[in-house]
């Protein structure tokens, strides 16, 4: 792999972060998702978690089982010796279309985003829904983070994170979009809500999508929510 530059950064006594870039690029994303899959196949003793996101992989280990120095050496050697890692697995490229109710109680931060961007609410929604964007990483409980809409400005996170955001909410921050299927706390700006059920914990994997798949949102009115509430993510898959 052409991974001339990578860093292994300590994160407390039981984790390291492998970082290939300080900025999010398609290249960095590909590398770390490919590398994460290859590392998982290595089944290195003591590693409990391998979690690739944008430009980094979080590797958590049990310090009773393995030693940080040995582990770092192993990872370093593995990266340097792995001549060709691709992320073809990650580029599944499946497509899904998800309905979203914007604003009001379903998207309490929409007014902030409108004001911050200095464009109309309709224009914010139009741009947010303009085409497919790629899922970059899993986040909270099968949620995902994806490329953001083409807004002119980045959107700042909340100064004080929300303590409770309704499951199914669509959120924005920086130049990214998040969809989190469960109710949780969040520092992102909540602009809308998707009524479709995406998680099925009785099947494995619990969600069909993966980093590398594509999502397009489309706006629905509040009163249209009920007609999507019984639907599952599988019914939202686009086959063409």
């Amino acid at each position: 792999m052409e991974m001339e530059t990578f860093e292994i950064i300590d994160c407390g006594d039981s984790a390291v972060l492998v970082e290939v870039s300080k900025v999010v690029t398609e290249d960095a994303w590909s590398k770390i998702h490919g590398l994460a899959k290859a590392l998982a196949r290595e089944k290195i003793a003591g590693i409990t978690t391998i979690y690739p996101t944008y430009t980094t992989i979080l590797i958590v280990f049990n310090c009773l089982v393995t030693d940080r120095a040995i582990l770092k050496k192993h990872i370093r050697k593995f990266i340097e010796n792995t001549s060709c890692i691709t992320n073809t697995d990650a580029k599944t490229g499946e497509r899904y279309r998800l309905p979203v109710v914007f604003g009001g109680e379903w998207g309490p931060d929409l007014p902030f985003v409108v004001e911050h961007l200095g464009i109309s609410e309709e224009e914010v929604i139009r741009r947010f829904c303009a085409g497919y964007r790629k899922i970059l990483t899993f986040a909270t409980f099968c949620g995902f983070l994806m490329q953001g809409a083409s807004f002119e400005k980045r959107i700042p996170r909340c100064k004080i994170p929300h303590t409770k955001v309704l499951g199914g909410c669509v959120e924005v921050a920086g130049n990214k979009t998040a969809f989190i299927p469960v109710t949780t706390s969040s520092g992102w700006r909540v602009i809308g809500h998707c009524p479709v059920k995406v998680i099925d914990l009785d099947s494995m994997p619990p969600v069909p999508y993966n980093p590398g798949d594509y999502i397009e949102f489309f706006p629905i009115r509040e009163e249209e929510q009920s007609q999507y509430e019984g639907k599952t993510i599988y019914e939202m898959k686009v086959t063409s």
Partner: protein, 298 residues
């Protein structure tokens, strides 16, 4: 003060373990408990983290007491088991109270009964085993009145709860961002907010402001990561955290102190102590190393 098991009636009994392993080339046999399964089962059930010397009783009645409360577990052939005449069960951990008499009588169906002891007996190791070898006269049979000294009980890590909490922290991945703020962070007494749960523990106190950047590229975060949100307050991301976080991380709670974080009550005071990774690992090993179930930690 030394503590003892005191054998009242020895019958035909001896101390046994798994025996000697590596001396067969000299013609020295392993010996050891003749019913290995019963021996190990007793040790397992009594809670020993490695196989300790047990009392192997062959055929004849046996009685003993202890000068201290001691966990025992009896396995092997059926027999009448009692403490001070009150029947007890086999294959269960039982505490033999100090000064009370344990009796093993009428061994039947099989020949041998094992008493696993939940403490280490101070017995000489010959060629790596305490087992009785009648040929080489290693080890010895138990006698009436035999006193078996118990070694000090294992010292478990003493976890002390209560405000003000002192939590050990290692540097996090963004420690450079906070180079000028570490003194403030480690010198501040924070208050645990009521807005705390298994996802995050929010802390109130003098805010950390002015550092750059206040947001970073989101990445996976380890349990215990302490992020500084733009208001300047720290949040400890805990076991229910969402995986990624985009606020910079000033430090990560040492794994050995997660349990304390899990015990902090809203309104409690907490301050942090900066330690090295090596110190954190050492502390974790000291705390969890003696717990055999720690190998199951995810």
């Amino acid at each position: 003060m030394d503590e003892y098991l005191i054998v009242k009636i020895a019958g035909f009994s001896s101390l046994q373990d798994l025996g000697r392993k590596t001396y067969m080339s000299y013609g020295i046999s392993s010996n050891g408990a003749l019913d290995t399964y019963s021996y190990l089962l007793g040790n397992e059930l009594v809670g020993n983290s490695y196989p300790q010397a047990s009392i192997e009783i062959t055929a004849f009645d046996f009685m003993m007491s202890s000068t201290t409360d001691i966990p025992i577990c009896i396995t092997g052939a059926p027999a009448d088991l009692a403490i001070e005449g009150n029947p007890i069960s086999s294959e269960q951990r039982v505490v033999l109270p100090a000064g009370k008499m344990l009796s093993v009588k009428k061994i039947r169906d099989g020949l041998r009964v094992y008493i696993a002891i939940g403490r280490e007996i101070d017995v000489p190791q010959r060629l790596g085993s305490c087992s009785f070898d009648a040929v080489g006269m290693l080890g010895e049979r138990l006698r009436n009145g035999h006193k078996l000294r118990l070694k000090e009980s294992k010292i478990y890590y003493k976890q002390i709860c209560g405000s003000p909490w002192s939590i050990d922290v290692c540097d996090g991945c963004d420690v450079d961002t906070f180079r000028d703020y570490l003194e403030q962070f480690y010198g501040t007494t924070y208050t645990v907010s009521t807005d705390s749960n298994n996802v995050g523990i929010r802390l109130g106190g003098k805010p950390i402001v002015g550092h750059k950047p206040t947001e970073v590229v989101s990445r996976g975060v380890a349990v215990g990561s302490i992020q500084i949100v733009p208001s300047g307050n720290p949040i400890i991301l805990f076991k229910g955290r969402g995986g990624t976080a985009g606020y910079p991380i000033i430090g990560v709670v040492a794994s050995a102190d997660f349990d304390l974080v899990g015990q902090m009550r809203p309104g409690d005071e907490v301050h942090f102590r900066r330690i090295s990774l090596a110190e954190a690992v050492k502390k974790y090993k000291e705390k969890f190393g003696p717990l055999k179930l720690a190998s199951f930690i995810k």
